[in-house]
């Protein structure tokens, strides 16, 4: 039978996988775990990389091209290295803009200082820019929401800002907002420019691609130390770290959008006699608008995801308040702040998406009038709010003017309710979960970790490269091998194995969960939408908050780390499953129904195979998300790469160590990405879905 012969042939994938497994196991048993045995562990040939990086950055920042600069403060000349002066100039530029935006919202003196001096402020105590009353900003948010989409968005915007105000998070929220209002546009602009450049020049695209890959897979706090060294500490440094994190998706989506512009539209532009500039500004970018604006949306989300991490290096606002609350175990307050972050995310997300989809009312005749009416409305709100604030200053003679700026922690608080909820969860579930936790740790996690650590390096290479080869060919196998080689030659191989063990366990659970939940929800319109909302929530809700209850339930164990990772990493698996299943052409669904399949049969034999490549892209994302969270798990207590990164912050070689470790994590992610992405793309093409 041709069927049997083909399934037994060496060309069939199951047979290849089986062979691979056999050889892998033989290697595992055959190779002795000895220190000098290079088949067991490769020598740390690259262990000096952190030092090199460090010396290089240090030299550049503190020694290279010193200039003598007179400092009036100390009445002496000081030697300032050129590169440091440049990065400092960038820093102060960014800081100025952030302060400016912040003071528009909250008032202050720094903008005035930037044009005068601190002495001027000392001599002129009146010189302070007033804050915008919270009522005004709330009104404006509603108007912008209304203008962009309608009543619904206006209501959401108004409710969100009101929540933030009355729960006493107004100041930190506005600080966070001002920070995002700077970081996001800069990321967008930078991403747009890089995307256009890559579109125009193939070599730029080729050069940019690996950089983007690394930037998107490197855990953010591995480059916090270099950012501190280069740009210092403060809102500017935090903004720059955020920009590094938020720009890559913008570049990718810009490039994608430009590439998707139909050739004919481009040719039409050329035939209409556009110059290159006109072609770019009036034909290409407007035509790519949708993708570009999805990029904008991504940027906003990424910026918000960075708020907590950014507070490590000086971002003022919700992030730092959150860390303070969590550090004295005020989970209720923490949740309240977390909700603020989610609300800001939701409003900005909806506004940017509404902006992206807003094409219909592009009527040249109307727009002027409309803009006019919006302006008038905003002006009216401003006047009304100011008057209210003025009245408020009479009502609240003592203490705080609640109609102007509600001071931090002076609002009502829901913290006790949240706290009670957390306590309830603890009381209800703890003992049930305790047994489960013990079983999981002793019977699964510890043996699994030991098994990972017992793999000879040669066997690991064979397994991973073999999988890449079978699924995607020699090229992929070599690329993946290259990634692994870097880690194997660093001194962090064992740490990386522990990271890999936790991440892979989390991925298996997340993928199973996500695909199940996604499949169940994808059938119903309402369920799909709701589950996507839940996904949005968990993607923006700061993970640090649920780390604490998780620790309380599961202790400082790998279980906690894995659960935190699962909560976060299930999001993309679910999202992509819903999307994948819902995009199965209805014709095929109908065809299935007409052949009399049951629901389960239809799912197994029609929907799942067709949606599978897309779901695998979700799993790919799940891997990256899980890695990120396992690294964040260092804050719970791990002994993997993440812990080393955390430790690097206080070390003198921190810059180099942080970056090297970050690369190790990025390379694990990229190795998986290489295999899955290419495979999924070819599979999609084969199914005619590409």
């Amino acid at each position: 039978m041709s069927l049997t012969s083909s399934s037994l042939s060496i060309k069939s994938k199951p047979v290849q996988f089986a062979l691979l497994l056999v050889v892998f196991l033989i290697l595992c048993y055959a190779i002795a775990p000895a220190d000098g045995n290079y088949l067991w562990r490769l020598p740390a040939l690259l262990k000096d990389i952190p030092t090199w990086v460090n010396d290089f950055v240090g030299g550049l920042m503190f020694d290279w091209f010193p200039i003598q600069v007179y400092d009036p403060d100390i009445d002496d000349y000081e030697s300032k290295p050129l590169f440091r002066e440049i990065t400092r100039a960038v820093s102060s530029g960014v800081l100025f803009i952030i302060d400016f935006v912040r003071e528009l919202l909250l008032g202050g003196q720094k903008t005035i200082v930037a044009f005068t001096s601190w002495d001027f402020i000392s001599e002129n105590p009146w010189a302070e820019w007033p804050a915008l009353p919270w009522t005004v900003i709330t009104g404006w948010a509603a108007i912008v929401g209304y203008k962009l989409q309608g009543k619904r968005l206006a209501l959401i915007a108004a409710l969100a800002t009101t929540y933030v105000a009355i729960f006493g998070q107004w100041e930190p929220s506005m600080q966070t907002l001002s920070f995002i209002l700077v970081a996001a546009p800069v990321s967008v602009l930078l991403g747009l420019l890089l995307g256009i450049w890559a579109y125009q020049n193939r070599y730029v695209e080729i050069a940019l691609n690996p950089l983007l890959n690394v930037a998107q897979t490197m855990p953010h706090y591995s480059y916090l130390v270099p950012v501190i060294v280069l740009f210092g500490v403060g809102d500017h440094a935090a903004a720059l770290a955020t920009i590094i994190f938020a720009t890559p998706p913008m570049v990718r989506l810009t490039l994608l959008g430009l590439k998707n512009v139909p050739v004919e539209v481009l040719e039409a532009g050329m035939m209409n006699g556009c110059t290159n500039r006109q072609l770019l500004l009036r034909v290409l970018i407007p035509t790519a608008k949708r993708d570009v604006l999805i990029g904008v949306n991504q940027v906003v989300m990424q910026c918000l995801a960075m708020t907590v991490i950014a507070s490590f290096i000086g971002a003022q606002g919700l992030g730092s308040n959150l860390m303070i609350a969590l550090n004295s175990l005020k989970i209720g307050t923490g949740i309240e702040i977390g909700v603020c972050i989610v609300l800001i995310a939701v409003v900005l997300d909806k506004m940017s998406l509404a902006w992206a989809n807003k094409q219909t009312d592009y009527f040249a005749d109307l727009s002027f009038l409309e803009r006019h009416s919006t302006l008038i409305a905003m002006l009216a709100v401003f006047v009304a709010g100011s008057i209210l604030a003025a009245i408020g200053s009479f009502i609240f003679e003592e203490g705080f003017n609640y109609l102007y700026v509600i001071p931090h922690n002076k609002g009502i608080t829901t913290a006790p309710i949240w706290q009670a909820a957390v306590d309830w969860i603890w009381d209800t579930f703890f003992f049930v979960l305790k047994g489960f936790n013990e079983f999981l740790i002793t019977k699964i996690l510890v043996p699994m970790r030991d098994a990972y650590l017992a793999m000879p390096v040669v066997a690991t290479f064979l397994l991973v490269m073999g999988i890449a080869y079978i699924l995607d060919g020699l090229r992929s196998a070599l690329i993946v091998g290259g990634f692994l080689l870097f880690i194997a030659f660093s001194e962090y191989w064992d740490r990386a194995l522990i990271t890999a063990y936790m991440a892979s366990f989390a991925v298996i659970v997340s993928a199973a969960l996500g695909i199940t939940i996604g499949s169940l929800c994808a059938r119903h319109e309402v369920a799909s939408k709701s589950i996507l909302l839940v996904c949005d929530f968990f993607q923006t809700f700061p993970a640090f908050i649920y780390l604490i209850p998780v620790i309380m339930l599961f202790g400082i164990t790998d279980t906690s780390v894995i659960i935190a990772a699962v909560v976060y990493a299930t999001v993309p698996a679910t999202r992509y499953t819903v999307e994948g299943l819902r995009s199965v052409p209805p014709v095929l669904q109908d065809a299935g129904s007409m052949s009399g399949v049951t629901r389960l049969q239809r799912w197994v034999s029609i929907e799942l195979p067709l949606a599978f490549p897309h779901i695998m892209l979700g799993v790919n994302q799940t891997v990256i998300f899980a890695l990120f969270m396992v690294i964040i798990g260092a804050f719970i207590g791990t002994i993997d790469l993440g812990q080393m990164i955390l430790k690097a912050i206080s070390e003198s070689r921190g810059t180099g160590i942080g970056l090297t470790l970050g690369l190790c994590v990025a390379f694990i992610g990229l190795a998986v990405d290489q295999i899955i992405r290419n495979w999924a793309q070819r599979r999609k093409a084969a199914l005619g879905l590409a």
Partner: protein, 352 residues
Amino acid sequence: MSSAGGTSEGTQAVIRCESVYKIFGKNSEALLDGASSSIDAETAKAAGCIVGVNNASFEVHQGELLIIMGLSGSGKSTLLRCITRLTDATAGQIFIDGEDILTMNEKELIEVRRNKMGMVFQNFGLLPHKTVLENIAFPLQVKGNNTKASMERARDMAELVGLQGRENYFPRELSGGQQQRVGIARSLAVEPDIWFLDEPFSALDPLIRKEMQDEFLRLQSVLNKTILFVTHDFDEALRLADRIAIMKDGVIEQLDTPANIVLNPATEYVRKFTEEVPREKVLRIESIMEPVNQSETMADLTVSKDAVIETVAKAILDESKPVGVVDEAGTLVGSLHASHVVDVLFGNRAGS
């Protein structure tokens, strides 16, 4: 190969191509060095190249409608793109009003495109973020014309193509036929001398296509542009063209009037196209009439030499006597027997 067809001389060629080549691949230069005329497929393949346009030479005259016909991959669109310099030809010379377009710099090229050329695309190539009016006005605004004048001109053009009332629609709100009307209006907005149409009606469904062809003929009768029209539809070519260039594998197999192509296919490839063609719909009386035989008694009926056979066949067949053929001035220039018409329509290869 026959790449020239004898036609109306005298007027200056608006478009003139001389030995134009477009070769894709790294070794194109080397491949060309060895070639004096057309490159044969084997050589090209050996050199790892694909020949898009192979030694094309022809002229298009003032007010003429030349159609380039070929199946997909024949190089017809590539040839059009070479002439508009959307791609650069590998070798040869292309003159627009006597100026070599291949040697123009960026600025000159933009000038030519802004003022002399208009182009219609198969998939319309409309700007999705602009309304009908803005799309039509786009080439004018690109030139830097003031907005009010551009919009007025655009409104006129919209009216010309029958889009009045839909000026503020977005392309995605229009049907395919309407979108192509926008494309046509846009290409004509700057009043170009030369009009390029790249499969303008191929993306439309058959009924709309017929309607648009009529519209096109109507416009051409008003505007009288010099036109280079690309299509894969032989019927369309026969219906619209003054002359047709049939391309295969980058080579122009035959360039002639529709009637001559149908009656005298130059190659086997061309003949295959003509086989299925209903002659009565293509041929005009002139191409099948016989000299006047003075001894015969003529019927009372006379037909114009420019009439398409189909339109007069029934009348001729009803006559027992030969029918007189007259020119525009009414002078008798030939005669036609009913039996001859039957021969042409159903019988052997006739007419020559």
